[in-house]
Symmetry: C2
């Protein structure tokens, strides 16, 4: 790549923040909805409909017109939906949930990425919310805007990904299952729903403050005898007495050294032959030849916005970490990027492994 | 474009903020400099050099590796510069000035784009700086971080663009020139330097608070008798008695209605045959078929970060506005996008026009 080509490629990065908010703002203002209701509107008509000047409408619609999302009639200047007319409303809503999560948890925070990396703390959360010494997952408890944007997105992700996970793992009848970092019990409930068998028992393991809500959830789902909760910290030890351990949506939050500590804790808790099943975003094996945008997203997300550390690894790296910690990997599954839900870009992987040493 | 293709295109927008800060952070942390000094370093070595964990270094370098800016040896995992090795240091610095301006004046502020459009005010400046009722150009007077990032960039732009402007306009010997919104006199000084002729006199017209610094600048450049300053507000009237009016880096800040008011003020101030020369960013004529990224950038920049209104127009729109206001356009020049400085994306245009009605 020539020096000129390299620097010109930089311009595509430079417009990234503006481009993101311009597109999202067209939805937030209601311009896209107004055009869905009635095509062929002028900038002035749209401006009146959404409470903006016609000048602002003209400026903000340049980008969707350039992209072919919206059409503009050359002679009259009137706007209509173009490609966006073909997108089902439900898909738009799903994608807007993701865009809103990015807006609320990242757009401002990422300004402080360098300071966050240097300190290993979330400087953005401190500067913007006065929140110190914790992660985004702690901050959502205190800040409604963070919680709503984050929880709505994660509910979408879990609803879509967890069934795929359970389709691809084996849970024998009567197994004693431990869901590590199982939050308030959703994973345990899903295990019963998707892998239910006589005698199956699932224990949610997470910080003690999650217990009350988890037990309420078990009661609400009529699973009181078949689910349990153990409070504790995975870095201090994982409760023993289980055949199968699940680790979903968790390892990507940690630096490799912490991932090793987690896997060793799990290893100690299992008997020989015990199994672990991991669900985690995975980077493409060949960074250079990938068209995927997950490597564009996750480093800034984890280092600057959610943890101050962490980030996904390649499937091969997770495999090595498991082997290093005394497991033999028995199965791996990677999502086919071509079959992700439209408008999503996170490729998940599943690793199943057995304690063999 | 199918619904799936449309939504997948959205993912490229979604990663925009993360991608921008990830790349910039690699420079801010000193990772690129460290690799320029010595190739073949591991993540751990780089981490020690810049004060970050090796995990963070690995995460942040994924993107530059994917883009081919940085190379990673497959066997050893060691990093070296790839395409970035070919880019002259001075070009890197110039591009980082632009990226820093975007970071400081846009990344956080653009979060409030929708509210800014609905109110016509800079909600981001208010929320982040407690700055109310003004523009970025007012806020730079009070906030050093905004001022430094903004002024450094504009000095770069002016040094590069204004000579091109003066190359393309005619200023006859002895002309009386008025530089509208001439700030603290730089345009007047450049007119003398680049168009100097016996009897040439240039008056800077701007808000009265600019007078002191402008007069000091004229003295420092030994131009006391040949430059002057008039304080006033362009929306209340433009001083008469000039042959040629210059309007540089100004019309893009305003909504079309305000552009009309400015052009009508200028028209009233000129005698029949008087000329106006405009320097302004211009959008491509065919939005749909353009690969340019200026429409990705400017709407969010002006509406959300600098003015709460405004934004560039197409050359054809500026031509129409001039004709509407009683001018005949005599010459237009548009920068060739292929000949912009590498790593810049703003295409400027020049319009020269004569008062004919």
């Amino acid at each position: 790549m020539s020096a000129t080509a390299t620097l010109n490629r930089f311009t595509d990065f430079m417009v990234g923040p503006a481009r993101f908010m311009n597109l999202l703002s067209c939805f937030e203002l209601g311009l896209i909805d107004a055009l869905r209701q009635r095509g062929g509107q002028t900038a002035a008509e749209l401006g009146t409909a959404v409470g903006a000047t016609s000048n602002a409408v003209e400026q903000l619609l340049l980008l969707p017109v350039k992209e072919g999302f919206v059409a503009q009639d050359e002679a009259t200047g009137r706007y209509s939906l173009d490609a966006l007319a073909e997108v089902p409303e439900a898909d738009v809503q799903r994608v807007l949930t993701l865009m809103n999560m990015i807006k609320v948890t990242m757009v401002r925070q990422v300004f402080y990425l360098t300071e966050s990396v240097l300190t290993g703390t979330l400087v953005g959360l401190e500067k913007l919310y006065g929140f110190q010494g914790g992660t985004l997952y702690d901050a959502v408890a205190e800040h409604k805007d963070l919680r709503e944007s984050w929880a709505t997105l994660m509910d979408n992700v879990t609803a879509h990904i967890d069934p795929w996970f359970f389709d691809n793992i084996t849970v024998p009848a009567g197994a004693r299952v431990l869901d590590v970092a199982g939050n308030t019990g959703l994973g345990a409930i899903l295990t019963h729903r998707l892998k239910g068998s006589p005698g199956l028992h699932v224990t949610t393991f997470d910080l003690p403050e999650k217990e009350k809500e988890a037990l309420e959830n078990f009661r609400a789902h009529d699973l009181e005898g078949r689910c349990g909760f153990v409070g504790g910290d995975v870095f201090e030890g994982v409760p023993a007495g289980h055949d199968i351990v699940l680790i979903k949506h968790f390892l990507d939050m940690w630096d490799k050294d912490e991932v090793r500590r987690i896997l060793r804790s799990v290893h100690r808790s299992l008997d020989h032959g015990g199994q672990v099943n991991i669900l985690v975003p995975v980077y493409p094996e060949n960074t250079r030849e990938s068209a995927a945008v997950d490597v564009d997203f996750f480093p800034a997300f984890f280092l600057g916005c959610t943890m101050g550390q962490g980030g996904p690894q390649k499937m091969s790296a997770y495999r090595e970490l498991l082997e290093e910690c005394g497991f033999t990997v028995t199965n791996t599954v990677t999502q086919d990027p071509a079959r992700l839900l439209p408008g999503t870009f996170v490729v998940h992987g599943i690793l199943s492994a057995t304690k063999t040493s």
